[in-house]
Symmetry: D2
Subunit: 351 residues, 4 copies
Amino acid sequence: MIRAGVVGASGLAGGDLIRLITQHPDLELTFLGGSSHVGRRPAELHPGLRQDLGLTVEPVTEEVADRVDVLFLATPAPVSADLAALLADRVPAIVDLSGAFRIRTPELHDRWYPKVQRRPDLAERFVYGVPELLGDRLKDAALISLPGCYATALTLGLAPLTLGLGLDLGTVLVDGKSGSSGGGLQLRTSELHALRNGAIAPYSPTGHRHAAEASDFLAREGRGSIASLSMSAYGVSHVRGLLTSTYVFPAGPVDQRELHRAYLRFYKGHRFVRVRRHNETLIPVPDPQAVLGSNYCDVTVLHDPEADRIVVLAALDNLVKGAAGQAVQAANLRFGLPEESGLTMQPVMPA
Amino acid sequence: MIRAGVVGASGLAGGDLIRLITQHPDLELTFLGGSSHVGRRPAELHPGLRQDLGLTVEPVTEEVADRVDVLFLATPAPVSADLAALLADRVPAIVDLSGAFRIRTPELHDRWYPKVQRRPDLAERFVYGVPELLGDRLKDAALISLPGCYATALTLGLAPLTLGLGLDLGTVLVDGKSGSSGGGLQLRTSELHALRNGAIAPYSPTGHRHAAEASDFLAREGRGSIASLSMSAYGVSHVRGLLTSTYVFPAGPVDQRELHRAYLRFYKGHRFVRVRRHNETLIPVPDPQAVLGSNYCDVTVLHDPEADRIVVLAALDNLVKGAAGQAVQAANLRFGLPEESGLTMQPVMPA
Amino acid sequence: MIRAGVVGASGLAGGDLIRLITQHPDLELTFLGGSSHVGRRPAELHPGLRQDLGLTVEPVTEEVADRVDVLFLATPAPVSADLAALLADRVPAIVDLSGAFRIRTPELHDRWYPKVQRRPDLAERFVYGVPELLGDRLKDAALISLPGCYATALTLGLAPLTLGLGLDLGTVLVDGKSGSSGGGLQLRTSELHALRNGAIAPYSPTGHRHAAEASDFLAREGRGSIASLSMSAYGVSHVRGLLTSTYVFPAGPVDQRELHRAYLRFYKGHRFVRVRRHNETLIPVPDPQAVLGSNYCDVTVLHDPEADRIVVLAALDNLVKGAAGQAVQAANLRFGLPEESGLTMQPVMPA
Amino acid sequence: MIRAGVVGASGLAGGDLIRLITQHPDLELTFLGGSSHVGRRPAELHPGLRQDLGLTVEPVTEEVADRVDVLFLATPAPVSADLAALLADRVPAIVDLSGAFRIRTPELHDRWYPKVQRRPDLAERFVYGVPELLGDRLKDAALISLPGCYATALTLGLAPLTLGLGLDLGTVLVDGKSGSSGGGLQLRTSELHALRNGAIAPYSPTGHRHAAEASDFLAREGRGSIASLSMSAYGVSHVRGLLTSTYVFPAGPVDQRELHRAYLRFYKGHRFVRVRRHNETLIPVPDPQAVLGSNYCDVTVLHDPEADRIVVLAALDNLVKGAAGQAVQAANLRFGLPEESGLTMQPVMPA
């Protein structure tokens, strides 16, 4: 059994990490860390997780290195940055779910993470943890920086066009829609149910750091280029799951069938990305409710012949494929386990 | 008192028309028409509207002309087309809430309303009923074609740029988000609460006829041109209200303050359009929950300097400013009443 | 015009008071009071209420007496108690929406409002403000204590049995279900959308002070007695509106038709209580969504022949008939205005 | 591997059966039956379940006996009755999720299932499938009749009082609250999202057949008696999960601690019933959101000293512990598998 620890155990991503690790056949939960809620049991912090795990939240020190093989950091970026610096050479594997080490271009990093001091030496040791695209590099990676939830959807949606077909995309526009769990459990008036329910909240109308992150990554890896990638993000009235709508204006002629086939081809063998036709089931897809609780990212690509634009839709559960599930998936690859180990749960729909 | 009739009395827009007319100081509800639910009282069809109005649903014949001064058609486009042909020369004022007479360009009409035969002679007698833009033409208009709900938001959002500032816009992208009341009460599996709640449903991902309608109107009126206007529409998890996000890439330099002021100037004196700053209140605005039940359209314009794009957000209650309320507003202008007569209700928020 | 002030202007009931007063033909809003948010305009605190009222939140002093004819206290009970003591002899009319003066039996008061010191002299000058039952006493009442939201539904549901038919009821059980607006805007983790949406939260499973209040009132007024009245309260997954289910085991034989007729008779002439048949419309009623935004209380009485029990269901909008609307209704009676003045808005349904 | 078939594969319980069987280490899905949607693949009917199972919906004939070891009937009661008659002696194990064979008292059966002809010979061969109470009898049971969703919660909530403590209960009142998935996918106007969202729908205010079922079962098994058990049921505004509130007036003295301990004792060793304290975690429990997607039933017992009543709260996921999960649990016992096989998934919360 691989011994796993979770720091940030009281948050929503931390809760889903606990859920997934305790369901995992090859991982064993041996440590819960955090600076608040010290001494509390998981069941007190996560109403669904009631079994006694024999663990309480503890402060993180260097000694955690003796108790874990892999440490998941579900902490704010500045905390992750400090913990990574402390533990990078002591813990066999660290999977950081924050944005501390996602963006490599210095100006972009400073623009979107001004409170996280850059540590170039440490940063370049991190592998960007999107298993469908960089799976090979995750094998034996000691340090993994997990993409943001929106960035995961966005990148998985665009990669078949840029990395796959090698298209040069001009202006790319992303409209992201997510539920309230994306905001965590921070106390804010605008997140109270009375004000948040029924909302379409334009919370990041003119930019989102996950777009910068995706842009930075695709430029780094890319065959196809992207001239400009901008994003607006909205909170809508459900709890779990997000959808990215990516609008692309291709330079040359495009065919709906070819596009769909290219996506199928690109994700062949990658069970967690489901390339779907828009009308293949009871409801229009992709829709995050059809992936709820699972590690799937559903992707649909459509050509709009009238405006000659490509519409790429990608849906995922922001706490699973957008956080805890992808973290486990990356750890599976890191430790040579089957990629799907502990992640075979099907979506809970309707919910 | 002006005698008002509602055809399509059993639908959601019909219900809100009944609600607004019975609250109106100068209108009197004298006729309810429909082809289904004949003989039923409004209270049977609309659970909230329980007072006895002394009316039941009746089939529509020419004789309705003796009983109404204004007839609101909250009917499917083909039905509206037939009723308008029958009654145009008999009823003093007809306000059609359907799409039958909205699009003037023949090819566009046929593309989006293939089941509604064009009647050019009749169509050109209709005034497009967006009071903030064509208010003068509504005075004494016998035939009024009301914009679609999305088209209203979209047009009110873009007009200050094109009609006001005279900007030539290149590619314009619209991402529309609406609640389930937009789909009416038609029985469809995908609209059952169990499947629709929690959804982000990409129901019209590659085009929407309201975009064609807005495009057609703005081109007709326009000083500033629009090279291409495309739209994708999503159903999100609430009932009443919609938001349009319109993304524009301006040719020249743009200033946030100037933009906001231009919008304020353009809508000066128009009480139903509220130009708002994004962060002026407890929640990010515009948000349709902040206009619920009212005739307001909230508009915010933002400049994204990094991508050099303009983001225009417009929120309204699709059954009020997007249907019944705007219909009453247009009728008020038609009959020389104060524009706000019967429409002074404030938003019911939170709800 | 009657000059009205609102203390507690930043809360949800305060917001609905502002909404209703600004829509009222005979009231004029002349004062906004509060201890927090001093200097803020209503539009900053209530996203829907954007018009400029020329008022900001001010601290309350004795001088408010020069500026208002009626003062609505939408404040916590201890604050209301202090303000009432300060202003009772200075302001012509005070309508207190808190629980400070609702319960008259000393032990009951101390049990449920331990932080509100009893002031018997002041308390006995307050009239309990349930207009349908004590309307006559509200005329010229200088001090009005408004019932709680659940207490209003509960009392209006039971009154036809006890005060009307004079039945002696044995054990009465109440199961109350309400939306998240009942909890106000206090920041609590359990009220965050992510944790509150989708909940059935048993927040007061073994007792609720509104039951004590209703019990105290009915005993005071009562012809029919109640041996024991107990209540459990649950938060369910919407924002505005509540339903009380009251289960009664009558001593003698009961007939469904007679019951319904007795309720109709009892509320004859009271337009804000709508006695409804359970299946008279599209959805089972009463349902709070069918009264949303309005001052109605919908009541249905049913006999369950198998268990020989009476089921009384009462639905209302907790912020309107359960708070701001009923406050305005009581003020209307106090000042000799038509009871419905400013309260004729119909329910906004669906929402 | 045990070969499993599902009849009623297109419904919601059918969908969750498919989900659970495909995640089960010891069951293999070998047959999908139904009279509608013949020829359709599961992915077309259940948007979340996209993997290719190599199966399509087929009509059910006697030949299914060659293809399955256990057949789950997620069919309407009349269909289940016919299928059971056809297949009882041919298929090794049948688990019926309908109400066809739940009630044994003839008058009660005819009262609540008038369309299901009684077949006493067949009925008495069925074991009532509530594993925590009748687990021993499920071993080797050929025919299993699964309790209704409400009946499961109700029975698990009351059993420690009657079967455990042997209390004689007088009048017992149940108030049930459930989400929209309880109504299945039948097309009804009142179940459209636009009318169902935000509702508190009193759909069965004066009785529910699951109460009759629980009453019948407890009387059959009982040590403690129940004088009268009545129920009212409400639809509230979420999709998955139900709560039963059971109000009991005990004859003798009661102690909160003793009660809680008695419940803990009664369910010792039964991992799927979690006896919880009301305030042990972030939100008041039990709450169905804290069991979502899992096979848990959370139970809390409280004493209300003022009214001297016992309040028993029980929450479960109506499609899992109230249907598909409990069906798998019963089948596990039937085939000598570990009770939790395939059912170890933790709740997906928040969702």
